[in-house]
Symmetry: C2
Subunit: 188 residues, 2 copies
């Protein structure tokens, strides 16, 4: 279906860049609603990211780091932004992040899902891979200069305790843990 054929289509009549950042930009669009009334939409423009669900034996690997927007430490699955010039090979992005954050690599990446983090106002898409058969990299890449983290391996029960106490608290990691529990309940 062409987007214009949607019953709910909103025609964009003007776009203005309101903020240009390192991580995202913000546009305000003037749109025409399906009933013909003009309105505006505020949009975070983001190049997307990749998350990795790394499983080793009966544990998942997490990184502990500071998150400025939340003003707290979190435990999250490894993830990284897609650079605008990086092209469309998201498996390469996943392998780069696993190298930088964990010092690990794999020949077995399996796409699990992809989702928009917050579709009401952002186009950030996160693609997630399951990583098994992990082994140490031969050439470890350095972390980004503003990245500081600790690598921690947890069982499902340990991870659920960190969900309870709020240390694990982001969409991709909560998704990963629920997906992991589903795999286990299916005996996979």
């Amino acid at each position: 279906m062409h987007k214009e054929d949607s019953k709910y289509y909103e025609q964009v009549v003007a776009t203005k860049r309101m903020f240009g950042g390192k991580i995202f930009n913000v546009d305000v669009e003037q749109v025409i609603l399906p009933n013909g009334i003009p309105s505006i939409r505020e949009i975070v423009q983001h190049h997307g990211a990749v998350g990795i669900i790394p499983l080793v034996d009966d544990k998942m690997i997490f990184v502990r780091q500071w998150r400025a927007p939340l003003e707290q430490e979190t435990l999250e699955i490894p993830a990284g932004k897609i650079d605008p010039d990086e092209g469309s090979d998201l498996q390469e992005v996943a392998l780069r992040e696993m190298n930088e954050e964990l010092g690990l690599t794999t020949d077995k990446l399996e796409k699990v899902t992809a989702f928009y983090a917050s579709p009401g106002y952002s186009n950030e898409k996160l693609t997630m891979y399951l990583a098994k058969n992990l082994k140490p990299v031969e050439n470890k890449r350095p972390l980004d200069s503003d990245e500081f983290l600790n690598v921690e391996k947890l069982t499902l029960d340990e991870a659920k305790k960190y969900v309870e106490d709020g240390t694990i608290c982001d969409s991709k990691t909560i998704y990963a843990i629920t997906y992991w529990e589903l795999l286990k309940s299916k005996g996979e």
Copy 2:
């Protein structure tokens, strides 16, 4: 633990509002990294939202709508933003959204989880409730003036087909479907 005691703590030395919107604001923070080097953090400030996982017999209820950031129609579980003046009763927000979007209410809301949509640059927190025992509301509230949507009930298999074709594509809804599958696999 006080946040200052975190090994990864970033001290905020200045904050500048770069964009003030209806849905979110954007701040740029000057911070001191754990190694003493100054850096900046770009932050989307958002009041948070509530998502509802409405189950009726063997179906989940979704709303079809246009999403400007994605330039497409989506099917999502019902959800709504928390108004800044709404206080902290998130169950009230969930009931209001169910009223507005579905015309339904319930005496049985159960908190499932809560997660930050994109913790690297946004403080938007989404709290999710499972809603059962649904019944029609007596006084239906109108939708917001810029909201146009269609209510659709789907089985798990139908929902998974919409994940495949990209109509279901956002974090809360993909989470909800995986959670639903987990409930089913546990026989709940």
